[in-house]
Amino acid sequence: MKNDISKSIWIGEQDLSEDKDFAAKVQEEFAPVSLVERLGDEGVASSLGGNRRDFLKFLGFGLGAATIAAGCDIPVKRAIPYVVKPDEIVPGVATYYASSYVRGGDYCSILVKTREGRPIKIEGNDLSPITHGGTSARVQASVLDLYDTHRFKHPLKEGRKIDWQNLDEEVGNAFGSAGSIRILSSTIISPAALKTIETMVGAYSNVEHIQYDSVSYAGLLDANEDSFGMRSIPDYHFDKAEVIVSFGADFLGTWISPVEYAKKYIINRRIKNLDNPMMSRHIQVETGMSLSGSNADNRIMVKPSEHGAAIAYLYTKIVGGSTSLALNEKAKMALDKVASQLKVAAGKSLVVAGSNDKSEQILINAINNTLGNYGNTITWDHTSMQRKGSDQALAKLVGEMNNGQVDALVIIDANPVYDSGHGEAFKMGMEKVKTTVACCLIPSETSIACQYVAATPHILESWGDAEPKKGHLSLIQPTIAPLFDTRQFEESLLTWSGEIKENLDDKSSYYEFLKSFWEAEVFPRQNKFASFNTFWDNCLHDGVFTIESDETAVANYSGNDQAALGMVSKPSNSDLEISFYESVPMGNGEFSSNPWLMEMPDPVLRTSWGNYLAVPVSFNGVNKFIGLNNLKDGDLVDVTIGDKVFSVPVMQQFGQMPGTVSLALGFGRREAGFAGTGIGADLNTSVQLNKGYRQYYHTNVMVTGTKGKEKYFSSVQYHHTFGVKAEDKKSGEIINADEAAAISATYGLVSQGYQGFLTDRSIIYNSNVNNLQDSLAHMHERREEAKHLNEQQIYNGYDELYTQGHHWGMHVDLNACIGCGACTVACMAENNVPVVGKREVSRHHEMTWLRIDRYYYGDAENPNTVYQPMMCQHCDNAPCENVCPVNATNHSTEGLNQMTYNRCVGTRYCANNCPYKVRRFNWSDYTTADIFPANQVPVNGEKIPYGADNLTRMVLNPDVTVRARGVIEKCSFCVQRIQEGKLLAKKEGRKLQDRDVRSACQTACPTGAITFGDMNNKEGQLSKKLDSPLNYIVLEEVNVRSSVNYSMKVNNRDENLYS
């Protein structure tokens, strides 16, 4: 090749310079040389002759070798039949293990249902003296986190994979040279885990353990330390209280231990004696409608900044003294009456507050003390350990970090960058810390900011213990081998502290530690069992153990409440205030990566996939409900909080204090898997410190201009009221505001003679406890009318057929239902109900088989609420059955309305004809089970549609068909459980009992509001419930012969409280 300067096309510098070797190679490019010669080394090539056959030989050998080599290390992933079947596993039969659900300070004793070695469902543990078999939505949904595709699958260093040995070495070295080590965690209720932290304290110098709660309870804890010398939470006995006053504590939804409190609370809310009906009175003082507030008899509305003033006002009325703090007149008037009612019920009352202000909590302690509630409704025998966080300690840590005083930071199961209220400062501080290690399950804002991630297993893969309340111990046992290369944080700590030196691969070493810890520390505290092994086995079997103690713990009140009275914050005189609250499904973001909880509607707002600004709504006195600034549901607004602007959609909220708005915490996560990332607005950045305590409201807030509508307004309920009453401006009379709003003034004439719009519908019957007899008479009259109508028919029915064998039915106690939504998530888990995502929910395509309708009734300004779980009513004269052209839905001899998915063509005629609107159609391929691959609908823009991967599918219940697109589905009364129960009874040669068949919603319910059973079993629990005169059937006059009975909602509202 010539060196031609004018050469216009050249490939490399060799091309331009006259490189002979290169020129030769270029010439050779297509030379007829055999592959073996070109690729193999010369000797081989010459000995084999180098032809096509040799190439194939090499290829064959190479492939085979690679296959064998690769095959050695691959774990078997697909199901294969057992060669030797383990004794405890019978294919097709579920095994239950007792364990505990612990997430931060949240606790629930659970039974884990496993099928063929894989956990698929969580049930409550009836043996627990704390939760009594109840669960919450969060507990029910926790099993899905196990199969989260975003979980850490191995330890990480700077976002790259690292193996445990290197991680331990590097972290150990860093700790060894660190001047100060801080361990930051959420509240840890495990005694053994705390012990592992102690080993760290022993092993390195200057180690400190700091606990904080994502929603702070520091004010309450510090107040208790001040008043009683104990930094803990006492035992609240909501069951012993006749008057319950809660200042913004959502004890049924989110406050400390809602499952436990709900269970106790409902005991006094049930009507036991119809002739002399009694129930407790619950008064909630709050800003927005909380789950507890919606269950309250009376609500007193105050602005968020007035909470302190309200507590102080009640304090002066009960304890004495005076306060100059301004409070709205209505609240004052009501609190006067509340005070006198509390005094009457002294010793049988309970006052709690959700405030995170120490002085306010001291006043609450003083009120309870004066009322003599300590020792009665509040005891110290089993103090709760479920919240231990300290705002001061957290703030100190952030300060230290930013001053460069922290060399190593271990963050355990916490997300301080997002939820500590110090977000930015914390993140900046972390950059100054030499070594940061996160021990966590799922990536979070914090874990991505850490250098090391010591991936932890899910709680269902872990060993552990818990002592949520003093003396109440629980064990956590794994129900599946760790799915990924993860290690419990306890074991990591033990490794780093040198407790575990050898056997790095032995994953059971924390188990040994736990067992010996229990042998040394717990076993001696009891005297029921003589040998440790029987004690251990028993605890493991039951999941819980209670250490009986004869002594009654007494704590003497010695609070400085007069000083506290002076410290209470002054209410702001701002026109608009915002209250931040923890929503029932989301917590403060801990649960936002869980699609089930994301899709679960907020029980009060009835919205999902995002936080919605609750704005007050009022009746204009003529014919309209008007929201704040004339805003309507779904309007997108700018909310300016301090100097930050959030764009959020609006939801009109009845019972929201005028001049305030509310917005839920826990959204706007920046790193929370596909479900939580980028959904909603993050308010933690607006949480301020007030006297060192995180304050969950803001007084500098503006709501400005609608920017149109929220694109996907994912609300599941559009009509919220059931005949709320308000004053007519003209006549001054109390009128049905719902009706007036429906019949607008323009059409006044047209609607003459129009009889009722909502109130006369036989959907909800409610009563005040004082006129229960009248309400019952009214309801019975209506039921008689319906029966009379139903007799005027030519269809005789087949009632006689259902008198033999089983006849399944259900009873829902509306008085016991608090609307928490545990049943709805349990139903999703049990029945493989798909998650559809924000867009589909906004198109009313949600798939829930069981929903909880929420209606407001009574005073439009300050209404009462009724929650109505609504599922297939399994009508014996079902309108859906006779219209199906292909017999896809039909009636079983046991009274079940059955759905045959294979037969369903998808005309949706049944759904149209269902008066209860409980049938759900698979509009798109929500389960990714379709034959058309193009139909998989992403839930929140994820690449692989949710549910399409094998990991997520492990959560599916193998007893329930996964429905494909184009078919109708609905509540089956958990027919798979019925079948299982019947088989069990048959095998044991006995009659079926109540316990054999319990529906998923029934077992999930913390208050026992749902009873499922055989209506023909006259001895059964259900038959006893069906005898109650409080019962009614929804839409009885339609004559569909529903199998679900509801019982009347009774409240104990004091109408005189506001006058």
Binding site: Q717, T721, N882, V886
Partner: protein
């Protein structure tokens, strides 16, 4: 056809036609190359049809989720269109069957096109039950045939199954009736044709020779089919109305539906016949066969049925009020004054108010007015079905489940596609078959041709004389 006609009746054929002229006028459109307007219309129709096909495939591939139906409103534009198209078909059957039995001679001018319209409308309608289902590929589960799935039979209690039988029967009888009428006309076309065209028409006319025996059998068959079709005019829409009437949903569950639906169907059907015929007579220059008298007769039917429909609407409202049943009251209250009030008032205006214009003879005999009002009525009848289906479902028993529904582009596309299908079929029909029944028109020429109706002219002159004297 009886030959005795009152001499003062308005002639049904104008222009002093001879038999040959009639043949010439009616057969020639099938023999000429298509006009520009026809070609343009055909292109538009086929485009719409193709877009509809695309939307249907889109629906089947991606699922009903591409429509905006929801947990509360399970049927929307799909079933609205279904009922609307079925209703439109009814006029053809009424004209060909009931008017034949009643010896209404004016039917001969419009029956052929109306019957064709029936068939095409039923095809459009039948499409919707097939594609609105979630799993279109198992729609054969509807059919009761011995099968290997049990054998598993359909649910004979379901009104949807009754629909299947009603519509398939209706389609079969309508097709036979239409084709029977076409046989002698195809023979006429054949007799004028040459070459391959002649062979085709010879085949289509089943070798018709026009012998007396042929005519005798043809007349007998026509009568038999008319007898069969007559109950169908009443039964098909009755059964369609059962889809709603047998349900438990307030606003659907009413006994008034069968007569109300039948009247509505004839109402909308005649409106569609007017729309089609006014264009056809203009384009194909058939003013001599489809006279103002024909148009007026049909307008009278529209006036009567429109008023029946109006009475039905008012009866529904009255019964809702009188029943004392809150759900029924709320359903009708919501229809009129709820979020879909515009649909209700649209329906009321188009269906009850607009036909009242036809009390005026001038408007009745005005081509422009008739065309305009026929479109209005068609829109109104579409609204009626939408109001009954979507509005009712959107707010039924439980307030918690109330929702709102509006269609997606796919649903609108499918509707446009059926319009495309309908007009494509109709345009092809005008090219291959005589749009007016030649044989039947020739039957009445001697009794109703204007050159034979001298009495009418005299009466008209007398009337205008009296008018001028006044």
């Amino acid at each position: 056809m009886g030959a005795v006609v009152s001499s003062i009746r308005e002639p049904l054929i104008t222009g002093s036609k001879t038999y040959h002229q009639i043949t010439e006028d009616l057969v020639s459109p099938t023999e000429k190359t298509p006009s520009v307007s026809w070609t343009l219309g055909f292109i538009v129709s086929v485009s719409l049809l193709l877009f509809g096909v695309f939307c249907i495939l889109w629906t089947i591939w991606h699922g009903i989720g591409t429509w905006n139906l929801n947990r509360t409103v399970g049927w929307g534009w799909d079933i609205t269109n279904f009922v609307w198209w079925i209703g439109i078909g009814h006029a053809g059957t009424l004209i060909s069957a009931i008017l034949l039995l009643f010896r209404q001679k004016w039917r001969t001018g419009v029956n052929r096109a109306a019957e064709a319209m029936t068939i095409f409308a039923v095809i459009c309608a039948a499409l919707f039950p097939g594609i609105h289902v979630g799993r279109a590929w198992v729609v054969f589960y509807f059919f009761p045939y011995p099968n290997t799935r049990g054998p598993l039979w359909p649910n004979f209690n379901s009104p949807l199954l009754w629909d299947l039988f009603a519509i398939s029967t209706y389609f079969t009888v309508s097709l036979l009736f239409w084709y029977t009428g076409l046989v002698p006309d195809f023979a006429t076309v054949r007799d004028r044709a040459k070459g391959f065209r002649k062979k085709v028409y010879n085949f289509l006319s089943f070798g018709w020779t026009g012998s007396a025996k042929h005519w005798q059998r043809w007349e007998a068959l026509s009568l038999v089919l008319a007898g069969l079709a007559t109950p169908l005019v009443l039964s098909v829409h009755t059964i369609v109305s059962f889809d709603f009437a047998t349900s438990v949903i307030p606003g659907w569950h009413t006994t008034i539906f069968p007569p109300y639906f039948v009247a509505g169907a004839i109402f909308s059907g005649f409106a569609m016949v007017q729309t089609l015929m006014l264009v056809t007579r203009k384009v194909l220059k058939l003013e001599d066969y489809i006279t103002i008298g024909h148009i007026e007769s049909m307008n009278k039917v529209i006036l009567v049925t429109g008023t029946i429909v109006g009475v039905a609407y008012l009866t529904e409202l009255f019964v809702a009020w009188y029943s004392g049943y809150v759900y029924e009251q709320a359903a009708f209250f919501n229809r009129a004054l709820g979020p879909y009030w515009w649909a209700y008032f649209g329906m009321m205006f188009c269906n009850v108010v607009s036909p009242q214009f036809f009390w005026s003879k001038k408007i009745r005999r005005s081509v422009i007015w008739t065309f305009f009002l026929s479109i209005v009525v068609n829109i109104g009848m579409w609204f009626e079905r939408f109001v009954i289906i979507a509005t009712t479902l959107a707010r039924d028993y439980l307030p918690s489940s109330w929702s709102y529904y509006s269609p997606t582009w796919v649903e609108i596309g499918i509707y446009l596609g059926t319009l495309g299908l309908f007009f494509t079929c109709y345009l092809i029909f005008t090219r291959v078959a005589p749009v007016v029944a030649i044989a039947e028109i020739k039957h009445i020429l001697k009794s109703s041709g204007d050159q034979y109706a001298k009495g009418y002219k005299a009466a008209q002159q007398e009337a205008s004389r009296i008018e001028s004297v006044k």
